[in-house]
């Protein structure tokens, strides 16, 4: 079947087997190997990408389901050569160790911060329960997301009350 997708701003047309998973399309056909496979069952979250702006686990989507969709992977998260605040925050707060789950965690968090720009620690933990990390114990991942939220609200002015909430 032919699909037409826009991945990280670039349009592609490919003939694919109907059973080809989106994650295999991204990794093997487009060679965007930043998206990883950890369980093939949509539990671990290593394969998380954005499909039409929403976080989705690409190991349980067929490539054909992404026909006419816009997809963003970890490789496309930086804009105009500038890393996303989550990317810089993960480095600053040591939010990663082996790096394997990291792209998926960052993509999940990027979508979540759009919905909830000023999350509490508990809300971040709940938002990330679909992403496994075996290295960090999640502590510095949570802190990385908190820092990114702060950075993002600094770049987008918010009301004073809201800003105070962020600092908690």
């Amino acid at each position: 079947m032919q699909i037409h997708v826009k991945v990280n701003g670039v349009e592609y047309k490919h003939d694919v087997e109907p059973r080809l998973l989106l994650v295999h399309y991204l990794r093997d056909v487009l060679r965007l190997t930043g998206t990883h496979i950890g369980c093939e069952t949509s539990i671990c979250g290593a394969c998380t990408v954005h499909v039409n702006g929403k976080a989705a686990k690409s190991c349980t989507l067929f490539a054909v389901q992404a026909d006419n969709c816009e997809i963003t992977t970890i490789e496309g998260l930086a804009q105009n050569g500038e890393l996303h605040p989550l990317q810089t925050s993960f480095k600053e707060m040591h939010g990663l160790q082996c790096g394997f789950c990291t792209p998926g965690v960052i993509m999940t968090a990027a979508d979540y911060l759009k919905q909830n720009p000023h999350p509490t620690e508990e809300e971040i933990r709940t938002a990330l329960e679909g992403n496994f990390c075996r290295c960090t114990g999640y502590q510095n991942i949570v802190k990385s997301v908190q820092l990114a939220a702060e950075k993002m609200s600094e770049s987008k002015p918010v009301t004073k009350e809201k800003k105070e909430e962020v600092v908690v």
């Binding site: 087997e17 059973r19 295999h24 990794r27 093997d28 060679r31 965007l32 190997t33 930043g34 998206t35 990883h36 496979i37 950890g38 369980c39 093939e40 069952t41 539990i43 671990c44 290593a46 992977t73 970890i74 490789e75 930086a78 890393l83 990317q87 810089t88 993960f90 480095k91 600053e92 040591h94 990663l96 160790q97 082996c98 790096g99 394997f100 789950c101 990291t102 792209p103 960052i106 620690e121 508990e122 971040i124 933990r125 709940t126 990330l128 329960e129 992403n131 496994f132 990390c133 075996r134 290295c135 960090t136 114990g137 999640y138 502590q139 510095n140 991942i141 949570v142």
Partner: protein, 792 residues
């Protein structure tokens, strides 16, 4: 510790992160080679069966299939070896049945590979694997180690009667320990299971093997923690191919936790097959295969008794353990329940008589080997559970009982190391210090008051302690050799100063999350007085790095870092000779500091970069000195290192529902000198959560047919972000006296210390509510707590 430019001891942000946060990591499964083929395995659905006919005809005829091999094709090839020989008490060699690349005649655990199918695509290989027809005749199954040694139990290997691999004993003679135990005023006895864990690195195992016929050269990309070890074992012991014609690369590796130390059958099989078909072959486990075939951890059934005199001083410890090794011996499986477990049973205490008796057993389960901590968590669990339980039974405060029994502080320099009853000599320690600090952080004085208040509000609060020690920096080759290791455990570190003064460091350790590219660069840049950015660390490729034993047993900085330090010292020594010639002085009159060679007491000096350039452009140069500035060193440690610490958990139990929540976790760890505090803290966090996972969430479950009933992420409960509190960490520094950096290692501390602290906290909560429970089997769920409250 000493620093020249502030890099050692600083939380430098990791250089490796740049590629990981942008999706530019390079893991084995990311690699596609020209002419790539893909493998899929036919695996047995039965835990124990005779293999009848294998019909591959239909599968071979399917689209894209290149080759199918079964046990018969590889029967002449050696199995994968075991790297540690443990002898029976009577001196007989352990039973070591062949661990074949593909099963021949019989399968012995669910998931064992029966055939490999190689095809042009992953999907074609999987389709064809499903079409391979295998006839099985089921045999009786045994999964439990204590059951397996009983008369009449199903036999896993004909050559291992009663399924025994070995029996083994360490410490004081049993009669002496029995006698001491008889004098005890109180004996605390605990029978427990240290359950089987599944490591679950998030990157599944992945291999990509190829053969270059023109040069007769093999290349294996592998998700390994120790590429050189894999090359040595595979070429010399399994395939019999020339080691210098084999390149093994461990590129970026997505977590190991022990499970990627071992030489797996698939590595050798793919390498062999790539030659047979003359095309690259790749295989990446799916998660179901990871659950079934990554070596598991722990799985001890133990009875332990600790005797105390009437003051509460420990007088004797007696331990009997059945260790489940699974169906075959994995690379280091045999040393885990023995030399990494029995040797740690002194703990932090002065117990004068100790005897540990271990029976290691084959069962129809996945092979068991080192999992983060490897033997030391089992030893710590045993001791720390006994300590807290004894305190409760004797009505002594558990912290006070520990203070009473601690080995007094010693630095290993002015005071000698501490000789244990179980073979080890501790290097340096201040055990009271970590417990004191932990109690302060907890606010222990108020805790018992808070506990009483909580009980009035429908909640049971519990606090659990764990004061642990571990043996890391593995290991002095002569010592481990005498104990049965079939390898040396030194490390290699090469420092190559480039003509411009930039530095490449080659290490035989392997980083799969530990941040060596940052930590080792900090050490070298600090010692050479140059910028951090001027140092790059290279690891993981047997063609680049001379040799190495890789990363396991928290050894990388203690052993690998020390090897690098030796080379740095050689660089400075040679640099002095070159600088002396340039400055027209004697080398002995030179000092090296802040990146400059200076004639002592003068302002005559030359920079490190100048010396480097002179070494490579030796126009004006000392006679009889070789050009170049590049040294490689082997470092064999004098002793293990002994990190220690105090972990404290606070849990809350709902009296009505049994709902259990971990409220606080305090970790005070003394890992010797610290190069990068941020990285060490991260190691502690991750380790603690793995230990908490064992206490509260995780554990492999086999049914009586040998089926792993929770081998998926729907069933095996991994710790998630939303079931953990923020871990409160602190450090103490007692330097290691016998390595140049004074470091002890931090990779496993969190996992070793944490599990018993959590379980002890649950038991304490139950006792505070009047439920006198000695043990709950891990993982402790709310349901188990509720049931315990109904019956006790």
């Amino acid at each position: 510790m000493s620093t020249t430019n502030g890099l050692i001891g600083k939380s430098v942000k990791r250089v490796e992160d740049n590629r990981f946060i942008t999706g530019k990591g390079n893991y084995t499964d990311d690699i596609i080679l020209p002419g790539q083929t893909y493998a899929a395995f036919v695996r047995t659905p039965y835990a124990h069966a005779k293999i009848g006919s294998i019909d591959t005809a239909a599968a071979l005829a399917m689209p894209g299939v290149v080759a199918i091999y079964t046990g018969a094709d590889v029967a002449a090839i050696n199995g994968v070896p075991c790297g540690w020989q443990v002898n029976f008490k009577n001196g007989d060699t352990m039973k070591e049945p062949k661990h074949p690349l593909l099963a021949v005649g019989k399968v012995r655990y669910t998931g064992e590979a029966v055939a490999i199918v190689i095809a042009g695509t992953r999907e074609q290989a999987c389709d064809a694997a499903e079409a391979v027809q295998v006839e099985y005749e089921e045999l009786p199954v045994v999964v439990n180690a204590a059951e397996a040694v009983k008369p009449g139990a199903p036999q896993v290997h004909d050559e291992a009667p009663n399924n025994m691999c070995y029996d083994w004993e360490l410490g004081n003679p049993k009669a002496e320990v029995d006698q001491a135990m008889a004098t005890a005023a109180h004996v605390t006895m605990l029978e427990f299971v240290n359950q089987r864990m599944i490591p679950n690195a998030i990157e599944p195992r992945s291999y990509n093997a190829s053969y270059d016929a023109a040069n007769g050269r093999y290349t294996l990309y592998t998700s390994t923690q120790n590429p050189h070890l894999i090359r040595l074992l595979m070429s010399a012991f399994v395939l019999g191919i020339p080691e210098h014609k084999v390149r093994v690369v461990g590129p970026d590796v997505g977590g190991g936790f022990g499970s990627k130390i071992f030489h797996y059958t698939e590595e050798a099989l793919l390498t062999w097959a790539s030659h047979k078909i003359n095309r690259p072959v790749k295989w990446t486990a799916d998660r179901r295969e990871s659950f079934l075939t990554d070596a598991h951890g722990r799985d001890h059934i133990t009875k332990a008794e600790m005797g105390f005199d009437k003051e509460g001083k420990a007088v004797a410890l007696r331990v009997k353990t059945f260790a489940n090794l699974g169906a075959y011996l994995s690379t280091f499986s045999t040393c885990v329940p023995t030399y990494l477990h029995g040797t740690l049973l002194q703990g932090l205490y002065t117990t004068p008589k100790i005897n540990v008796d271990v029976t290691a057993v084959f069962t129809n389960t996945t092979p068991v080997d080192a999992y983060r901590g490897a033997g030391r968590p089992e030893a710590t669990y045993l001791l720390e559970r006994l300590m807290d339980l004894a305190a409760h039974e004797m009505g002594i405060d558990p912290a006070a009982l520990r203070f009473k029994n601690f080995i007094p502080p010693f630095d290993g320099v002015n005071q000698p190391g501490y000789q244990t009853q179980v073979a080890l000599q501790y290097d340096s320690g201040n055990y009271e210090g970590v417990l004191k600090k932990g109690l302060e952080m907890l606010g222990y004085e108020d805790f018992r008051k808070r506990q009483k208040e909580a009980a009035q509000n429908g909640k049971l609060l519990g606090v659990g302690f764990s004061t642990y020690i571990e043996a890391c920096g593995i290991a002095p080759s002569a010592v481990v050799g005498a104990l049965g290791a079939r390898a040396g455990l030194y490390e290699v570190g090469q420092v190559r100063v480039q003509p411009t003064g930039k530095v490449s460091v080659f290490t035989g350790t392997h980083s799969h999350g530990q941040g060596h590219e940052t930590t080792f660069a900090q050490v070298v840049a600090d010692k050479l007085g140059i910028a951090f950015e001027d140092v790059e660390v290279i690891h993981g490729d047997s063609d680049s790095v001379a040799f190495g034993m890789g990363t396991c047993g928290s050894r990388s900085i203690a052993v690998g870092g020390s090897a690098i330090m030796k080379s740095v010292e050689k660089i400075i020594e040679k640099g002095k000779k070159i600088a002396a010639h340039k400055l027209e002085a004697n080398a002995e009159d030179l000092e090296f500091a802040g990146g400059r060679f200076t004639v002592k007491g003068t302002n005559k000096s030359v920079s490190f970069a100048d010396v480097a350039l002179t070494a490579y452009v030796p126009h004006v140069y000392p006679k009889d000195l070789e050009p170049g500035l590049d040294f490689s060193s082997f470092y064999d440690p004098a002793n293990f290192t002994y990190p220690f610490g105090c972990h404290i958990a606070v849990v809350e139990v709902d009296k009505e529902t049994g709902t259990l929540a971990l409220r606080r976790f305090i970790a005070v760890d003394d890992v010797g000198n610290v190069i990068n505090p941020m990285i060490v803290e991260g190691q502690i966090h991750g380790g603690v959560v793995q230990g908490v996972g064992q206490a509260l969430f995780e554990g492999a479950e086999y049914d009586e047919n040998g089926q792993l009933t929770n081998g998926t992420y729907m069933d095996y409960c991994m710790p998630r972000a939303d079931n953990l509190p923020m871990i409160e960490t602190a450090g103490q520094v007692t330097p290691c006296p016998h390595n140049p950096l004074g470091v002890k290692g931090a990779g496993e501390a969190g996992t070793i210390g944490s599990t018993p602290a959590v379980v002890n906290a649950v038991i304490d909560a139950l006792w505070s509510g009047g439920h006198i429970v000695k043990d709950l089997r891990m993982p402790i769920t709310s349901e188990k707590v509720w049931r315990a409250m109904q019956t006790a």
